[in-house]
């Protein structure tokens, strides 16, 4: 294992209180969750679009249903 570098040390936030650190961790987790929800909504829209495209293709005689 290598010794902690200066860059590693810069990541620590010794001036934050435990409560502030907990709040930051909470907010980061909440951001991650929000991004996952957004990703889920985009995926749902893509699925609906895909279904629509296939139905259109089938109903216009492009392929046997």
């Amino acid at each position: 294992m290598s010794e902690p570098t200066v860059q590693d040390a810069s990541k620590t936030t010794p001036d934050l209180t435990p409560e502030e650190q907990a709040r930051r961790a909470f907010e980061k987790a909440r951001d991650r969750r929000n991004k996952m929800i957004a990703l889920g909504l985009v995926a749902f829209a893509v699925l609906i679009f895909t279904i629509t495209a296939i139905r259109l293709y089938q109903n216009t005689g492009g392929a046997a249903g």
Partner: protein, 329 residues
């Protein structure tokens, strides 16, 4: 610009924040795997098909629906899950996901899954999916589980729907063969669940859940396991006589069933369940006297997987060799 202090609830700041993995755990991924597998078998075995991309979306919708039902189950059962060693590490009793978030996740997931199923397959499959979610979350979880030792006998219907839904997705209807696949899982559920309950009965007793070993005792449970096994094993051969199952399925159902019966007889002759629960919380942790119950529980999963894998091999990989019974599907 700084974030306002009031943007997060005070208690939430100190609680461990939920990660995406916690929401995945909420969906009972192990159960979801079996649901997808049996549904896929039902779809492949059915005499019909839809566009492969539509089929993939339909199977995804079913997995989402099963996961949503699991989330609703965990939301409602948070209190008893916290009292059972086997379930106390689930996200809700751990405080990683709140009860209201679990309900929200379950309701939204259920709605999206039914919509996706209706659009990608048909209304019959979507209706069956909606009913199975309702059956598991409301009839079983909220109605039966805490009231009667027959909880998993009736509630087992919820887990039996997937192959029927897969069948309906492919054909737009439900036939005798689809009902037979439903009945196989329905009859399989009691011996499977009671084998687990036998060596985890202390857990269920602590939580106040009237599982068969808690309400009627271990000896009665071992007898009921044997009775259901004697009904299940011959019935599981039924697809051979309707033409749904071929030679491979016949070998799997007869050979696998014989082993199932041997293990059920061993459980019946054993003292499994007499000593209460194992101390450890792991699913397969067991006291010495309960070994046969643990073995039957583990094997029952393999047995069901074997039956449906045989159907997939016969209908999906062209390994179907008709034995001359019934009409070929």
């Amino acid at each position: 610009m700084t974030t306002p202090v009031s943007s997060a609830p005070a208690d939430a700041v100190t609680a461990a924040p939920a990660e995406w993995g916690d929401y995945l755990a909420l969906m009972k991924p192990r159960v979801m795997t079996l649901v997808v597998f049996t549904a896929f078998a039902g779809y492949v075995a059915a005499p019909g098909s839809i566009h492969p991309v539509m089929a993939a979306i339909a199977i995804f919708a079913l997995a989402l629906g099963a996961g949503a039902a699991g989330a609703l189950n965990m939301a409602y059962d948070a209190d008893i899950d916290a009292r059972m060693r086997r379930t106390r590490k689930r996200p809700v009793p751990q405080g990683k996901v709140s009860v209201s978030d679990a309900y929200g996740f379950g309701i939204v997931g259920a709605a999206l899954s039914v919509i996706l199923m209706a659009l990608s397959a048909n209304y019959v499959a979507a209706g069956l999916l909606a009913f199975s979610i309702f059956f598991y979350a409301v009839i079983y979880t909220m109605g039966l589980k805490r009231r009667t030792p027959q909880n998993i006998v009736i509630g087992g219907a919820a887990g039996a729907f997937p192959p029927m839904i897969g069948w309906a997705a492919a054909t737009g209807s439900v036939s005798l063969d689809a009902v037979i696949l439903f009945a196989i899982i329905f009859l399989w559920t009691p011996p499977h669940s009671w084998a687990l309950a036998l060596y985890k009965s202390g857990d269920y007793a602590d939580a106040g859940v009237p599982m068969m070993p808690v309400a009627k005792g271990a000896a009665r449970t071992r007898l009921e396991i044997l009775i259901y096994s004697l009904i299940l094993v011959p019935f599981a051969v039924a697809p051979v006589f309707t033409g749904l199952g071929g030679a491979l399925y016949a070998v799997a159902s007869v050979g696998g069933g014989a082993l199932f019966l041997i293990m059920a007889v061993r459980v019946w002759q054993s003292k499994a369940g007499e000593a209460g629960s194992a101390e450890e919380g792991a699913l397969y942790a067991v006291r010495k006297g309960d070994r046969h119950a643990r073995d039957l529980f583990a094997y029952s999963i393999g047995y069901l997987a074997l039956l449906f894998a045989a159907l997939i091999a016969e209908h999906g990989l062209g390994a179907h060799v008709a034995l001359g019974f019934g009409g070929a599907s």
